[in-house]
Amino acid sequence: MKKLVPFLAACFLLVLSSYIRPLAGYQVGDKAADFKLKNVDGKMVSLADNKSTKGYIVVFTCNTCPYAQAYESRIIALHQKYASQGYPVVAINPNDAGIAPGESFAAMQARAKSKNYPFPYLVDETQQVAQTYGATRTPHLYVLTRQGTGNEFKISYIGAIDDNSEDAKQVKTKYLENAMTEILAGKPASTSSTKAVGCGIKWRKA
């Protein structure tokens, strides 16, 4: 028993240390792992739940980041535009509420309600999904396309929504919408990976 305690402590540290930094994450063309995360309505949500979609627009976002807030209404508009074309938005909050109390599940529920989110807003409590996908900031978007009729998805686009976070009216290039036009036509996106500034994800400390 005395030997077991340090062993368990070492295991615990090993598990914790895997939370410190994100792994390399996905590139465009990679197979995307499904997940099972709790929605603000308390129900668990997976990509496999809805068999009728052609794919998903997975958005790592959060409550408090000014960039996430600046893009919030644009993310809602993306869902309104693309859900009917087979690509609904799934929003995931990867921030550790222990570090950022404004990211708590209750605060997520309040935000989703006050802004009338038309899509699920999931909590990535272990931060495993954000790490697997390689998300580093909020907002950080991934377009997933279903392969055939099963529940296998591939990454079609990673990155930014557009070229102007401050003012939607000043946007000149809609990176994600341009990619979606090609993806919906069954073609690979010609610009499939873009960069944006965002809030670093609040990773749980060891």
Binding site: R137, A160, E166, K195, V197, G198
Partner: protein, 162 residues
């Protein structure tokens, strides 16, 4: 000059100095690139931050401390604000003044990160805070997309001062 006048002058200079510290230049990408590519044996610590970024604000004092700790060595800190240019007078300048920041502060006045981020550093995915340590004379460069603790920043900088 009599001692009273000298003291008055010294006091006046002290009053003037803080107002100089609040100057924050708006710069475009080419100006930033020029800074990143200086061929000198000075080690530059370039921290990308924003007034709205809590972890950035937490680590700012560590960068400020670098100036004092390495005052006699060729080390220079540059704080690059990623706030919107429209917030320069409203947020950034008052913040710099309130914190009494001694490091040089500039604001990168560019809107589309997808067009400039790779030109700053290919390893940067866009999260803040982000820090570069560069010594072109020694052909050394390191990128950190993370929040520093003070010992971590010291250790990272030591690699350049050996």
């Amino acid at each position: 000059m009599n001692p009273v006048k000298y003291l008055l002058l010294a006091a006046a200079m002290l009053l003037v100095l803080p107002s100089q510290a609040q100057q924050v230049a708006l710069i475009k990408l080419p100006e930033l690139q020029k800074r990143l590519n200086r061929k000198t044996d000075t080690t530059y610590v370039i921290n990308f931050w924003a007034t709205w970024c809590a972890p950035c604000i937490k680590e700012l004092p560590y960068f400020e401390q670098v100036n004092a700790t390495y005052a006699k060595q060729k080390v220079k800190v540059l704080l690059v604000s990623m706030d919107y240019a429209s917030q320069l007078d409203k947020k950034v300048k008052p913040f710099v003044l309130k914190r009494g920041l001694k490091s040089e502060v500039v604001l990168l006045n560019e809107t589309d990160p997808n067009t400039w981020m790779d030109k700053v550093d290919g390893k940067w995915t866009g999260a803040l805070p982000f820090t570069l340590i560069i010594n072109n004379g020694k052909q050394k460069r390191a990128a950190y997309e993370k929040e520093f603790t003070q010992p971590e920043l010291t250790a990272a900088l030591q690699q350049f001062l050996k």
